[in-house]
């Protein structure tokens, strides 16, 4: 459904301006029809809109002039992430929604990899898909409900919610499109800045000499090469206090979770 919007971008047509209205309204309708409601989801129509969006995406991508590996993987990962997000929002069964969130995580992790963040890709998968989702499923199994229930089979103001979401995405995309129209290419600016920035991310902890940088043929530092080392240097150099604060926060959150979840005497009967 919302994938159709990606199709607009693949056409290489930013500033995409008001053309995004079409895919956004497709996605709006699809999500609105797919949201659970007591008289049954309009699965057929909503899925039809989704299929239309994907077909439009494929036509736009494959009809484009240049399709290199990077852009193709970007399309796949972003499509997977957006589809998973659509499923997460619309699936009636909460356990399935949690599994759809895993799909989103995997898609976003792929996008992280494309954006030169391999360490964060691993961390994201381990923390979210590994830890958080398991805890979620645990609580879901604990609070098992049979399916047509008030919690799962009803939506609160589906029309207003969808209008809100469509408005939000429209505003953001229009803002991005305007900005993208102003600047020529971010890639060039990145390559210019990367030369300066990766030369010495943090001086005190790790001296990064020229020999430490792996350069590609263009003489530009390859970003993913030393990602973990650079990230560690940044983290423990520039953000050391924040790291300590995060540790304190984790301890406090653990204590708080234990205190909140504790069963208090005769009051809480499960």
């Amino acid at each position: 459904m919302l994938v159709g919007m990606l199709g607009m971008m693949e056409a290489g047509a930013y500033p995409w301006s008001w053309w995004v209205l079409g895919p956004i309204s497709l996605g709006f309708l699809g999500i609105y029809l797919l949201l659970p409601r007591p008289d049954g989801q309009r699965t057929a129509t909503g899925s039809l809109l989704g299929v239309l969006g994907i077909a439009g995406l494929m036509a736009l991508v494959l009809g484009g002039v240049i399709a290199n590996v990077e852009s193709l993987t970007f399309c796949v990962f972003s499509g997977v992430a957006c589809l998973g997000a659509g499923f997460l929002v619309t699936l009636e069964n909460p356990a399935r929604a949690a599994l759809a969130f895993v799909v989103v995580i995997l898609g976003v992790a792929g996008l992280f990899l494309l954006a030169a963040a391999p360490f964060l890709m691993g961390a994201n998968i381990i923390v979210y898909a590994g830890a958080i989702i398991v805890t979620f499923l645990f609580v879901l199994m604990l609070a098992q409900q049979h399916l047509p229930s008030d919690a799962d089979s009803r939506s609160r103001e589906p029309l207003l919610a969808c209008i809100c979401g469509a408005g939000s995405v429209l505003i953001i995309l229009l803002a991005i499109g305007e900005d993208a129209g102003r600047t020529e290419s971010y890639q060039e600016g990145f390559e210019a800045r990367a030369l300066v920035a990766t030369r010495a991310p943090v001086a005190p902890f790790r001296r990064v000499g020229e020999s430490d940088l792996r350069l590609n043929q263009g003489g530009v530092p390859a970003m993913p090469a030393d990602n973990t080392a650079f990230l560690g240097a940044t983290l423990y150099g520039r953000h050391l206090v924040a790291v300590e604060l995060a540790a304190v926060l984790l301890v406090v959150a653990t204590l708080g979770a234990i205190a909140v979840a504790q069963r208090t005497g005769a009051g809480g009967a499960l």
């Binding site: 930013y14 609160r156 990145f190 909140v260």
Partner: protein, 142 residues
């Protein structure tokens, strides 16, 4: 499109963020609402990583690490709270908690009846004790 540029990443994260927004507003299951918030967090994290990539420094990625930390704390606390709430009202429906609203807001009631539960397959009938149930003979073609 030659290769994904900054606006493409921003657009994907905008889509993720807005879908999370829709899920948070529309869904009534506490856990799905929380998952929607996590979806919005993912959108924001993607923004940070993309900016880090195209600005050529790693502060955005460091920020995403802190975001992961906060998300872990948030998940622990929220699940503890959800568990406590489930114990009190024995349902995950967030509308059961609308008495927490301001007093002059009217309460929302559900008009439409829920659909009937889908018919499940009938339980198998056990034979009387002592009588072996008839087993279908398997043809032996050796």
């Amino acid at each position: 499109m030659v290769s994904p540029d900054l606006p493409h990443f921003l657009a994907v994260s905008a889509v993720l963020f807005s879908l999370g927004l829709v899920g948070f507003i529309a869904r009534r299951n506490l856990i799905i609402m929380f998952l929607s918030v996590e979806l919005m967090v993912q959108g924001v994290a993607l923004n940070f990583v993309a900016f880090a990539r195209f600005r050529g420094n790693l502060d955005g990625q460091a920020f995403v690490l802190f975001l992961l930390t906060i998300a872990a704390c948030e998940a622990a606390l929220a699940l503890a709270l959800i568990l406590a709430m489930y114990r009190t009202r024995s349902s995950l429906d967030v509308s059961l908690w609308q008495d927490l609203r301001e007093e002059d807001l009217e309460q929302v009631t559900d008009d439409e009846p829920l659909p009937l539960a889908p018919a499940t397959a009938p339980l198998p009938q056990l034979p009387l004790a002592g009588i072996a149930p008839a087993k279908p003979e398997e043809p032996n073609r050796v």
